[in-house]
Symmetry: C2
Subunit: 172 residues, 2 copies
């Protein structure tokens, strides 16, 4: 797990495009200016997103970048994976590690349970969500998505016997 600044750049750039009319083509410099980003660095990021099919690039008269798909169809997960690598969410919580079931880290078990929830959430959150509800601010729908992801995970694990602890609260 590592989410670097480049992922943030990618998200902010895409959100900027999502705020334009559908299918709008926007030049790099304008995106960078509108989102207060460094143009050369954004260029690097946008190239990755283009290669991974999230952006479409245009040359000639109407040049620049446009979203390859509708904003509600581009998940945060895709964006981050395109930039950080497809194994982003398969990796250990200790980001430098490549631990496996055979050679597990101390938190391997814990992470096996948390990771799917995080992935589900990132899968359901889209560029449109970020663009509509403010690039930044916390909103109720996020809370709802978190609950959903948690519920999904709980349902998936409901077969395993629970154990109790001081103050334990059981779902279902």
């Amino acid at each position: 797990m590592k989410m670097s600044k480049e992922s943030e750049y990618g998200l902010m750039g895409l959100v900027q495009l999502a705020k334009q009319p559908a299918h709008a083509v926007m030049q790099l410099r304008d995106v960078a200016a509108a989102a207060s980003l460094l143009e050369p660095f954004l260029a690097k990021t946008f190239r990755k997103l283009t290669v991974h099919g999230l952006l479409r690039s245009h040359r000639g008269r109407e040049r620049g970048y446009s979203l390859a798909r509708a904003p509600h169809d581009i998940s945060i997960r895709e964006v981050c994976e395109a930039i950080e690598g497809v194994d982003l969410f398969q990796r250990c919580i200790f980001w430098s590690n490549a631990c496996s079931d055979a050679e597990p880290c101390p938190l391997h078990g814990m992470w096996r349970h948390v990771r799917p929830q995080l992935v589900t959430l990132m899968e359901r959150l889209t560029i449109e969500d970020l663009a509509k509800h403010g690039t930044s601010l916390s909103r109720d729908n996020v809370a709802s998505l978190v609950s959903q992801a948690a519920a999904d995970a709980a349902a998936a694990n409901s077969s395993s016997p629970a154990f109790t602890r001081k103050g334990a609260i059981h779902v279902r």
Copy 2:
């Protein structure tokens, strides 16, 4: 958020001590050998844990390290914070960033909801859990703890109106 190899070393070292009889004093080299860790690097880690009051160091006849508290009283959270810094769980998901409500990152809102769950989980998971149920393997109690943390968060957010989405499942 960043969990480096040093945290892993800290956890593995503590777990090793937790597997000994209570209050046992164990020399660094023995801990390192038993857990297959590099002694010089573990030394660095143990020093941090000693300063933060999780380990007690002993000189003279019975020298070495011992746990400062009972294994069930040392949470994973404490260990990680001692090593990575107290602001570990206060930080942005983009680990290099110091974003705030005033200057939020694109996932600021999302992270505000996820972070508390993660912290709660790390708070409830202890060295004893890791030592008892295998340093590594996933176990039912972890699943239970995850559910608890999720339930807690859901309860905390239950006041906010939910919104629906294709395939949404509501808890409660």
